[in-house]
């Protein structure tokens, strides 16, 4: 054919190809509308007020006049949290505080130049440099606060030569979303070999104060592992132990300084016994991962501007791998894993190859070390056997623990007296503690209340000591006193007895055994236990002090007696629910649990085994099949309601909340939806709930970030650019100086918890609301995501969560705690079968959540990636319905974590088991069972399934109605769908390329005909 034909054919090919690409782009843009709109500050909806415009439609208002005020207040709060979160562990020779007017500081350790501020992925502490937002690492923070630093050492650490040894941006962990069949092999602590410290550099440090930074980083989707190696010429016994390079560096620091202060920049408890016992190390201070502004607060503590008042949220063990929990931590695969040669092998798509058995029972963290300590003191339960001993000889507390949970010093001294304890089973209990500043420096002090419940050998397992509450004083001047009140609930120290007989013939109840309960205060769990033991035995003989500053005071332990065992007060609707999580249910004696009746037990690693047929049913997924049943459910009812009709006002017109959940209003509201809307709501409403026009629900988004809304998802305050939100209190104009600032700047959760200051934590929740939660517990120090969880203790974790949620929800921000539940390791978290006994599950992990869910302080909960036993935890009815709803009375919503095409997380099982919305990605469309939308006709025949859909949505509506999503809306509001500028651009592209394709196509045909003629 001729040139003319070929020219038009070519042009047709170009325009048709571009048209095809634009059409595909349209689909992609549609599927990702939420994040695109968030990034661009656009919206597809416009609120139109058809009334007179005089209504007050701001149900939750901001406390600030401008974004700059918000940012400044957040920065100040972040600094304050870090100040109060600093934990002073050692301070010999009054080495701290520093006199920064006369002392020059040499920062030692390459990680002083590359510190870790937060975690990786969702918890990255980020600023937007381009927008002028400042971030403060250690050097910058100290200089900002007027410190004189040794520049020669900074120059060494800043050099290209040093950079070769450094962690990248403070991180060396390698997060992985994929399957792992071997434990991670390397972790580089990022320290320099001593050979790089030249004589000039060393002499520059002479006569200065050494501030030695020891750091370990944190990350989602990663864990530490005891067998790791550095991958460099450096070496260590364990990654949480000091490396040779670190020891060499510390030796140099000691030799070239007037005094040595060690700063621990880590969320995972590392091994510091040698530093504690080293007389040449003057001070040790833990600062955790303090976020973007936290080192400013740390600087104030080092200089004495602020007196430290933080307390450890984890036990600092001599050997970080010495607890029974570490016997089963890491990568364990079933004998018939998909990579095995077994004939009945699991399928890789089921993500069921891995398991974790928590054989330690309730004895995590201090509950292990302190309980074994008591039994060693009382010479019971073979506590002094060599089993689990770090030294290989008889177990001794002094050989095992450096600093106990709750420990922390001050620049001053405080005397605490336990004035009274009033226990009210079934009601609120209180304790009063008088705190006196007996030192010479003003400061705050925290009263920590612990309890020891009566233990009967061979009976229900009980920790020898457990935290039940805490209260922080105001700043006390020298000589000043303050009496603080600690409120607590007796349910906090009830034990779960799986063998208890219930009146209805079932088994399992919360029990308060008859006997003496010892309430004690102390600087940490160990001091409190010593007070109990001294009181109980009338002697200090055999008691171990972790430091010479430990005080034993029998008066600070009081006895409360319960005459009769109480197994009913906290057991309404309670019975065993989690037997399917206990491996012994399937295989007799598969697990030997840790027991204080014999400490030689519970030290066995559960090696590869073949799951039983019953277990395989869970491991091979989809349980619920859609069927044709029932009479159908009501959809698209014309009830004339909108979600705004749920809002209730007092006689003055002030918003006071929403209708009760048991009001039939909610059922009628849900029945107004169409089945399509309901499918969209559940299938796509994980983090982006589209507006539901039938009930006038506006579009809402969920975003994560334990240190603030994540920058990579939200992209800073300019999320508030949306012109349609210009009437809202939180609106930010595009040209606002702070518009592009990142919001994820706060200290990590352990720092928050270390403040033991509920008021401060609530303020952070409030700050999040001005601009979303983490409540798993620290099972072991090796979970690299511990930085997103508060502590190793369930009560501390739960109380922190409650405080944060109260602060956030008060301003209409719906909070979403996660990961519900048992997400104790990151390696192979997707599909990991997690086994434990019911007592451990309830008393440790679930109690963290129970405190917030049973009080409905949190409005929603995100389920985890792992399995409970062999069932996906987001479709585990015993947990979601039987415990959460029926026992706790939880009225919030559920949502899954990200479903990436994994069929074990499928919408059928999730919905039918009482789960909630599905956080899906486009990869979800590859699920073998297909999408909800594609199964609409089958769903429409399944009445039972549709009822569960409506039930799930009802909880969501109930929570969303009581949120700041209602701001700007009234009964006179209409929501109109509009196109954004980029959607118009796509349409223009389709029209343009469509037209050119048609025109050039016609011209091609015409040219063809002409040439044929």
């Amino acid at each position: 054919m001729g040139k003319k034909f070929r020219k038009w054919r070519g042009l047709t090919a170009i325009s048709a190809s571009l048209l095809t690409i634009v059409v595909c782009g349209t689909t992609i843009a549609y599927a990702n509308t939420a994040i695109i709109n968030t990034r661009l500050g656009t919206s597809n909806f416009k609120y139109v007020n058809t009334g007179d415009g005089d209504e007050d439609v701001t149900y939750f208002d901001s406390d600030y006049e401008s974004l700059s005020d918000v940012v400044e207040a957040k920065n100040a709060l972040a600094e304050e949290i870090s100040e109060e979160g600093c934990v002073l562990l050692k301070n010999d020779n009054l080495a701290l505080p520093l006199d920064i007017s006369s002392e020059t500081v040499t920062l030692w350790g390459l990680n002083s130049h590359y510190p870790t501020l937060g975690g990786m992925i969702g918890s990255s502490a980020t600023v937007n440099d381009e927008a002028g937002q400042e971030s403060y690492d250690i050097e910058k923070a100290l200089m900002e606060k007027g410190y004189t630093l040794n520049q020669t050492m900074i120059d060494l650490y800043s050099s290209e030569e040093a950079k070769e040894y450094a962690r990248t941006a403070g991180h060396a962990l390698s997060p992985s979303f994929g399957p792992i069949y071997e434990n991670p092999s390397t972790y580089n602590v990022g320290e320099l070999p001593s050979s790089l410290y030249t004589d000039d550099v060393l002499s520059s440090a002479d006569g200065t104060v050494a501030l030695v930074v020891i750091s370990r980083d944190s990350s989602e989707a990663a864990d530490y592992e005891t067998e790791m190696t550095t991958g460099t010429d450096d070496s260590y016994e364990r990654p949480l132990a000091l490396s040779d390079y670190e020891k060499e560096m510390i030796a140099l620091a000691k030799a070239h300084s007037t005094k040595v202060v060690v700063m621990i920049n880590a969320s995972n408890a590392i091994e510091i016994e040698d530093l504690k016992n080293d007389s040449e190390i003057d001070s040790i201070i833990w600062v955790g991962d303090p976020g973007v502004y936290g080192f400013l607060g740390v600087a104030d503590v080092l200089s004495g501007e602020v007196n430290p008042s933080g307390s450890l949220t984890d036990t600092y063990a001599v050997n970080s791998a010495s607890s029974p929990a570490m016997v089963n931590f890491g990568v364990y695969t079933y004998a018939n894993a998909s990579n095995s040669d077994a004939s009945d092998a699991l399928d890789a798509n089921d993500k069921g190859d891995w398991y974790l058995v928590e054989s330690e029972g309730i004895y995590d963290g201090y509950k292990y070390y302190e309980t074994r300590y008591e039994d060693a003191v009382l010479n019971q339960g073979n506590a002094t056997s060599t089993s689990g001993s770090s030294t290989g000889s008889a177990w001794s507390y002094g050989d095992e623990v450096s600093y106990s949970f709750g420990y922390g010093l001050s620049y001053s001294t405080f005397e605490q007296t336990l004035d009274s304890v009033e226990v009210n089973v079934g009601g609120t209990s209180t304790a009063k503690v008088t705190v006196t500043n007996t030192g010479s420096v003003a400061g705050k002090s925290t009263a920590q209340l612990y309890v020891q419940a009566p233990y009967i050998s061979g009976g229900v397992e009980k920790s020898a000591i457990q935290l039940v509450g805490f209260a922080k004083t105001s700043e006390l001047q020298p000589g000043a006193s303050e009496t603080v009140e600690i409120t607590f609930d007796a349910s906090y120290f009830a034990s779960y007895d799986e063998t208890a007989d219930n009146a209805n013939g079932t088994k399992g109840a919360w029990v308060l055994d008859a006997g003496d309960y010892y309430f004690a205060i102390g600087n940490g769990a160990h001091e409190a236990l010593n007070n109990v033991l001294a009181n109980k035995t009338g002697s200090e003989s055999g008691l171990v002090r972790t430091t010479e500053k430990d005080v034993i005071n029998t008066a600070n332990a009081v006895v409360w007696n319960l005459a009769e065992t109480d197994a009913t007060t906290y057991s309404e609707n309670v019975e065993n629910q989690l037997s399917s999580m206990d491996l012994n249910t399937y295989i007799d004696d598969a697990v030997e649990y840790t027991t204080r009746s014999d400490w030689t037990k519970g030290w066995t690693t559960i090696e590869a085994f073949t799951p039983t047929e019953e277990m395989m049913a869970g491991l091979t997924n989809s349980v619920y099949e859609l069927t044709e049943n029932g009479e159908g459910v009501q959809w698209e009812e014309d009830n004339g309601l909108t979600i705004l009709d749920a809002l209730e006002f007092d006689e003055d017109g002030n918003y006071i909340g929403v209708k009760d959940l048991d009001d039939e209003f909610w059922d009628k509201l849900v029945q107004q939806m169409s089945l399509d809307e309901a499918i969209q709501f559940i299938e796509k409403g994980g983090d982006d709930i589209e507006n539901v026009d039938s009930v006038l629900l506006p579009r809402t988004y969920s975003n994560d970030g334990p240190v603030g809304f994540t920058f990579d998802q939200v992209a800073g305050y300019y999320v508030r650019w949306t012109a349609s939100q210009s009437s809202e209190a939180t609106y930010v104009s595009e040209d606002d100086e702070y518009a592009k600032y990142s919001m994820c700047t706060f200290p990590t959760e352990p720092v928050m918890a270390a403040t033991l200051n509920a008021e401060l934590i609530a303020q952070e929740g409030d700050a999040f609301a001005e601009d979303a939660l983490w409540s798993n517990e620290h099972r072991t120090p090796y979970c690299a995501r511990n930085h997103e969880y508060y502590s190793e203790d369930s009560i501390l974790t739960g109380l922190c969560a409650v405080a944060f949620c109260e602060g956030a929800e008060a301003k209409g921000l719906n909070t979403q705690m996660k990961h519900f539940a048992f997400n104790h390791q990151e390696s192979n978290r997707s599909g990991l079968s997690t086994f434990m006994n019911e007592q451990a599950a309830r008393e440790n992990e679930l109690r963290c959540f129970q405190l917030a869910m049973a009080t409905n302080t949190t409005s929603s909960v995100m389920t985890a990636f792992n399995r409970a036993g062999t069932v996906f935890v987001g479709a585990y009815e015993p947990l979601l319905v039987n415990i959460s709803r029926n026992e706790w009375g939880y009225e919030g919503a559920f949502v899954t974590d990200m479903i990436n095409g994994a069929d074990y997380m499928n919408w059928r099982d999730i919905t039918f088991a009482g789960g909630g919305n599905c956080l899906t990605t486009s990869a979800y469309d590859t699920s073998e069972i297909g999408t909800m939308a594609a199964s609409k006709s089958e769903i429409a025949k399944d009445t039972a399934f549709q009822e569960m859909m409506q039930n799930s949505i009802k909880y969501w509506f109930y929570q969303l109605a009581d949120s700041n999503a209602m701001n700007g809306l009234s009964v006179n509001t209409e929501i109109k769908r509009v196109l954004t500028w980029y959607q118009w651009l796509i349409i223009l592209g389709i029209v343009l390329f469509g037209a050119t394709t048609i025109c050039s196509g016609l011209m091609t045909v015409k040219a063809y005909k002409e040439e044929r003629r």
Partner: protein, 135 residues
């Protein structure tokens, strides 16, 4: 007078070969969408059909008409494969850009996209060139 294959045809042949390679590469991508395979297989079958029709066009003039327009479809199929291929990988790209996952998880995808887009461009170029010449 008979028809002989020309340079344009060679381009379509190269494009089809690239589509076949892309199809194989796509089997190794983290998340796959069946329609992408459909587009790529259609691009390869189109080329096979074109070869068959070229051989039989002497006996059926409709084949000549069809052969003249087929390269346009080839470009469209490759464009469709490239565009649709993005759909499932958008999230993964986001994870990598955000630092949540390693670049290794999308290398195969990038290779696939590169091959498919090159195939599309080669097909477009073929449209500007004679497919066959009279001898």
């Amino acid at each position: 007078m008979s028809q002989k294959k020309s340079v344009g045809f060679m381009f379509t042949l190269i494009a089809a070969a690239l589509s076949l390679v892309a199809c194989i590469v796509y089997t190794q991508v983290m998340y796959t969408l069946p329609v992408v395979f459909v587009f790529l297989v259609l691009a390869v079958l189109l080329e096979a059909g074109m070869i068959v029709m070229m051989k039989k066009q002497a006996s059926n003039s409709n084949f000549t008409v069809a052969v003249s327009f087929m390269p346009i479809l080839g470009a469209i199929f490759d464009a469709g494969a490239a565009g649709a291929g993005f759909y499932l990988m958008v999230n993964q790209l986001g994870y990598v850009v955000a630092g949540l996952d390693g670049v290794d998880t999308i290398i195969t995808f990038i290779v696939f996209e590169a091959i498919t887009l090159v195939a599309m461009i080669v097909n477009i170029v073929a449209n500007f060139l004679p497919l066959q010449k009279e001898v």
